[in-house]
């Protein structure tokens, strides 16, 4: 299918979610369940998208696992977003260099 159709569908859906509550439906959400659900959505979807996909996103499962481990440990210690991201990236590079050297 045409890439631009995908991009249009994606952009339009995202825009409607943002624009309707700003213009048309302007009443607060009363349902506590719905508000709670929306609170947990980002954590659930980011987790589901990251694992196990990160394991197969690089040349080997080992380097993917290294990226995961480094990121979790650094994020747990409260390092900033960019430090965590660059370090996990560096972990992949180190693993790949090691793999090439060891043949």
């Amino acid at each position: 299918m045409n890439l631009y159709l995908y991009i249009a569908a994606m952009a339009l859906t995202t825009y409607l979610i943002r624009v309707l509550p700003l213009t048309v439906f302007r009443r607060p959400i009363r349902s506590r369940f719905l508000r709670s659900f929306l609170h947990y959505v980002p954590y659930a979807c980011l987790s589901a998208m990251t694992f196990p996909a990160i394991l197969t996103s690089t040349e080997s499962v080992l380097s993917g696992a290294a990226a995961l481990a480094v990121a979790v440990v650094l994020a747990y210690r409260g390092k900033s977003l960019i430090v965590v991201a660059l370090s996990s990236s560096a972990a992949v590079l180190v693993c790949q260099c090691a793999a090439h050297l060891l043949g």
Binding site: R35, V41, F51
Partner: protein, 236 residues
């Protein structure tokens, strides 16, 4: 007055714009490693302005799934923006009319929303436009640069750059999961479900976008039922 409001917004948006540049660099590199070209990746960023939604959208595009799957995936993953727009709408009150709102809605991201809500003075249109300017440029420009870098670098470095995006997702999720048990529960539940979709033979046939939707809805619904948030809190 208008100029001062705009400049005040721009300076408040500067750190967000710089942060967006680095995050979207990872998105650009990943999009290119999955077969898109850098300009198309930048077009996605310019028209969507959302990290998780774009990543899921990329998954749907690469899987060549249906447009309905794309719409459903975005509806679920970006649903939280409805909450932010509602809150922002009340904060803007009557001062900002319908037409400017059509524009402001386009860039109501997590970070811009947080900046707008934390302002003490009343929100004005020039201020909001100033707030959005650098984040939009940073998000789109970073994607383009990441895409271009990904196009010229060898595969091994490209896959290392693509991992940055996962690293950022982890950096967003881990600190609150460490502090709040309910968030940890949502994370663990989503991880277990997505692992099932990846590894159980019968579930492998479910397409990637739908799998993300099911994991997200199930984990968030279970946690919303077990651990409802406090009344005053309006989510993210």
């Amino acid at each position: 007055m208008t100029g001062r409001e705009y400049r005040s917004g721009v300076s408040r948006g500067l750190p967000v714009g710089m942060g967006y540049f680095s995050v979207s660099f990872g998105f650009g590199a990943m999009a290119v490693s999955q077969g898109l070209n850098a300009l198309d990746a930048a077009l996605i960023s310019l028209t969507n302005m959302t990290s998780a939604g774009q990543f899921a959208g990329l998954t749907v595009i690469v899987a060549a799934a249906s447009l309905w799957e794309m719409v459903l995936t975005q509806l679920i993953i970006n649903s939280r923006y409805a909450l932010m727009s509602l809150a922002l709408s009340q904060r803007m009150g009557q001062r900002i009319g319908i037409l400017p709102r059509l524009l402001i809605a386009f860039f109501n991201t997590d970070e811009i929303f947080a900046l707008a809500m934390s302002r003490r003075e009343p929100l004005t249109l020039p201020y909001m436009l100033g707030l959005g300017t650098l984040p939009i440029l940073g998000w789109t420009g970073g994607t383009l640069c990441g895409g271009l870098a990904g196009s010229v670098l060898p595969v091994s470095i490209r896959s290392a750059l693509g991992v940055m995006l996962y690293g950022m997702f982890i950096a967003i999720v881990v600190p609150p999961a460490r502090q709040e048990r309910p968030v940890l529960a949502a994370v663990v539940l989503a991880l277990v479900l997505s692992s099932l979709f990846a590894w159980v033979p019968a579930l492998k046939t479910v397409s990637a976008g739908i799998a993300i939707v099911i994991c997200t809805v199930a984990a968030a619904a279970v946690c919303a039922a077990l651990f409802p948030v406090a009344d005053e809190e309006d989510g993210i």
